[in-house]
């Protein structure tokens, strides 16, 4: 009796332990996924920082190229001078020795310039190697949605479209349920429009309403999409999109603009549907 009781208790303990073990394992897996997500986010932020560093590197590179160009121009001047001297030698044989001497001086000067040029190349290479260690935009801290959005819009405003695009995309991926996610999605489309990538912009504009159908950029995105479709000659789709605005976003500025557009391009679409014709009631027969 005692033994069977102990067996019974042991059985129950096993039965209880199994789900707990499974729970623990699932918790462990969840933690692992969270850790991976956090690592992914850090990686994305590092990517943004890297892009910013590249921008900074580009600026410094331009500056150094300016210096380099000056040296190249100087070298060109010297070579031209050498050629002039050479030409003078061939036309004026009476002064040959003097010209040779002058040419020799010029060649020496040119060699010296070339040496300096190679030094400049070396320092340029060193500069480029050192750039990733230079202080960058320290204000951009991982996980700070507000900062990321501000940085992205700042880059858009400054015409750094590629960088702004990657920042807004990261924003949407990292903070999909934040208040500004639909705004970020809108700016993705706006940047693509600035880059004349109309078809890609159409796709991205459609996503704004998917993120937040009541967001403050939603009606704007729909209106832009309709206008783009019209520009592309897809009038039926444009009219359908404008009608969505008239119906679902009537009180917004874009709702008013959509009505105005429809009045111009498809006034019949705005007309109320015709009243159904009155027909004598028909008796329905029951199907077998």
């Amino acid at each position: 009796m005692k033994k069977s009781f102990l067996n019974w208790v042991a059985l129950w303990l096993i039965v209880l332990a199994l789900p707990m073990a499974a729970l623990a394992q699932s918790k462990e897996q969840k933690e692992k996924i969270d850790r991976m997500a956090a690592q992914l986010e850090e990686l994305k932020t590092e990517l943004i920082l890297l892009q910013r560093q590249t921008q900074s590197m580009q600026d410094t590179f331009n500056k150094t190229m300016g210096e380099l160009n000056t040296l190249i121009v100087q070298m060109g001047d010297n070579i031209a001078a050498v050629r002039r001297a050479q030409s003078a030698i061939s036309t004026n044989t009476t002064d040959t020795s003097g010209q040779i001497s002058s040419m020799g001086e010029r060649i020496t000067a040119t060699n010296s310039r070339m040496e300096r040029l190679s030094e400049q190349f070396a320092s340029l290479r060193k500069l480029i190697e050192d750039i990733p260690k230079m202080p960058t935009f320290t204000q951009l801290t991982p996980g700070n949605a507000e900062q990321l959005f501000a940085a992205a819009y700042s880059d858009y405003s400054r015409g750094n479209f590629d960088l702004a695009l990657s920042e807004f995309k990261q924003y949407v991926e990292t903070f999909p349920s934040s208040e500004l996610a639909d705004n970020a999605q809108y700016w993705i489309a706006e940047i693509l429009l600035a880059q004349k990538k109309t078809n890609e912009a159409l796709v991205e504009l459609e996503k704004v309403a998917q993120i937040n159908a009541q967001g403050d950029k939603t009606s704007l995105a729909l209106f832009k999409r309709a206008s783009l479709l019209l520009e592309l000659g897809r009038k039926d789709e444009a009219v359908a999109q404008y009608l969505v605005l008239v119906k679902d976003y009537a009180k917004t500025n874009e709702g008013t603009l959509a009505t105005q557009q429809l009045q111009q391009i498809a006034p019949e679409a705005l007309a109320p549907p015709p009243a159904p014709e009155k027909t004598p009631p028909t008796r329905r027969t029951k199907k077998p």
Binding site: G66, T70, R116, S157, F223
Partner: protein
């Protein structure tokens, strides 16, 4: 009584923690923004050091020209704010006219301790040879053959130095359009070389130069009504609007289009975008409020900042060039006016009365909305950016009369450019 005391204590603690915490955070943000802006201009001790040795006369009768050249070059490089200029009293006594006379140690060591040295000579009244050396690496960075009058040569050399040190174009050869005696005038960025540009014989207002400086849009009453007139750099008229209402403040986009405010034929003040010759004007605002002072983002040409009173008082808004995506940029109360977008697209300078405290020039970061006050004396209006986005011209009555002034982006180094009156500056290449 005890309960009351406890309540007061709790309120004090809560206010202390949250209220002062918030004010402290705002102050911290303001300080950080000021610090950020401060890094755009090199202040003493904060950047590479540049010594500018006086150029030497190499021809007879050019002493006066040389003196002018040296003064202008120094002022150009000082106002450029790209390096820490080493005071001339510390320089070696030996004259430096050509590379052969350059002794590196004299410039690298105490008391000069310079990174770069600029020097050269005037070979005639209209010709000069300039050099820039990196004295630490003992390398020549620049040799320039200059031509023109003393001021032109100094401006050219200053710009070449700035280009080399920063990779950006300098501003010494840039120009400013402004209004004086009811006509548009042009002058050099330092206030010299002023000349009358328009001779409409009516009233000219709101001059606005294009980004490349090759076009000027302004409002003229020459047709009887105020209309936008666009002229090329040769002064010839490219086109104009033909409205019969009030038209104000045109701004030229990077692609040549024009935005301006107009009541057209007597309606409310709205924004219009027109072709580069003023034709094909299309209304982009659609409200019953007053919409004025539009300014393009000169970097992208895709957005326009403007002033509207739709919220009750005149505040700054942004709108897409196609008339969509209107939104407020700043809402600070009081009266805001004349927004000006920096050429790099990062900032908007504007006029604000500080909620009744007198009109001054402020600076806002477009992305973060952080704001910095730049002027403190007199009344200051109509900011306009230098092409390098590091300086601002504006009109001020601090001397008792409206004159054009210029300052660094952080408000430092204000300098008066006009002496006989001037308003509405527009700065460009």
């Amino acid at each position: 009584m005890r309960k009351v005391l406890i309540a007061i204590s709790v309120i004090s603690i809560v206010f202390g923690v949250f209220g002062w915490g918030k004010i402290g955070a705002q102050q911290q943000q303001q300080d950080d923004f000021r610090k950020q802006i401060g890094t755009i201009i090199v202040t003493p001790g904060g950047g590479p050091s540049l010594a500018v040795a006086d150029f030497q006369s190499r021809a007879s009768g050019v002493d006066a020209v040389t003196t002018t050249f040296n003064e202008v070059l120094w002022n150009d490089l000082k106002f450029a704010g790209v390096s820490n200029l080493v005071g001339k009293s510390l320089y070696p006594k030996t004259k430096l006219a050509d590379p052969a006379s350059l002794k590196y140690d004299e410039w690298v060591n105490d008391p000069v301790k310079s990174d770069y040295v600029a020097f050269g000579s005037l070979t005639g009244a209209n010709s000069a040879q300039g050099y820039l050396y990196d004295v630490k690496t003992q390398s020549q960075l620049l040799t320039a053959s200059l031509a023109g009058d003393a001021r032109e040569m100094a401006h050219q050399f200053a710009d070449q130095i700035v280009k080399l040190l920063t990779g950006q174009d300098g501003i010494a050869t840039s120009k400013i359009a402004y209004i004086a005696n009811r006509e548009v005038f042009m002058m050099g960025y330092d206030g010299f070389g002023a000349r009358q540009f328009t001779r409409d014989g009516s009233i000219a207002l709101f001059p606005s130069l294009s980004v490349d400086g090759k076009r000027l849009a302004y409002v003229s009453y020459r047709s009887g009504f105020p209309n936008v007139v666009v002229r090329g750099e040769d002064g010839l008229i490219i086109g104009s609007t033909q409205f019969k209402g009030t038209t104000t403040s045109p701004s030229v986009a990077p692609d040549g289009r024009i935005v301006f405010a107009s009541s057209k034929d007597g309606g409310s003040m709205e924004l219009f975008v027109a072709n580069e010759d003023g034709s094909g004007a299309r209304r982009i605002t659609n409200g019953r409020s007053v919409n004025i002072s539009p300014r393009w983002n000169p970097k992208t040409g895709r957005e326009i900042a403007f002033v509207s009173d739709r919220g009750g008082s005149p505040q700054i808004y942004i709108i897409g060039a196609d008339g969509t995506n209107e939104r407020p940029l700043l809402s600070m109360g009081g009266q805001m006016d004349s927004p000006a977008w920096s050429p790099d697209g990062r900032f908007i300078a504007f006029t604000w009365d500080g909620g009744g405290g007198g009109f001054h020039i402020y600076l806002a970061d477009v992305a973060s909305g952080q704001v910095l006050r730049l002027t403190r004396e007199g009344r200051n209006e109509n900011p306009s950016w230098s092409p390098d986005s590091r300086h601002i011209a504006f009109q001020s009555n601090r001397t008792g009369r409206w004159e054009i002034w210029a300052m660094h982006i952080d408000g430092s180094e204000p300098r008066q450019l006009t002496r006989t009156g001037g308003r509405s500056p527009s700065w460009s290449k």
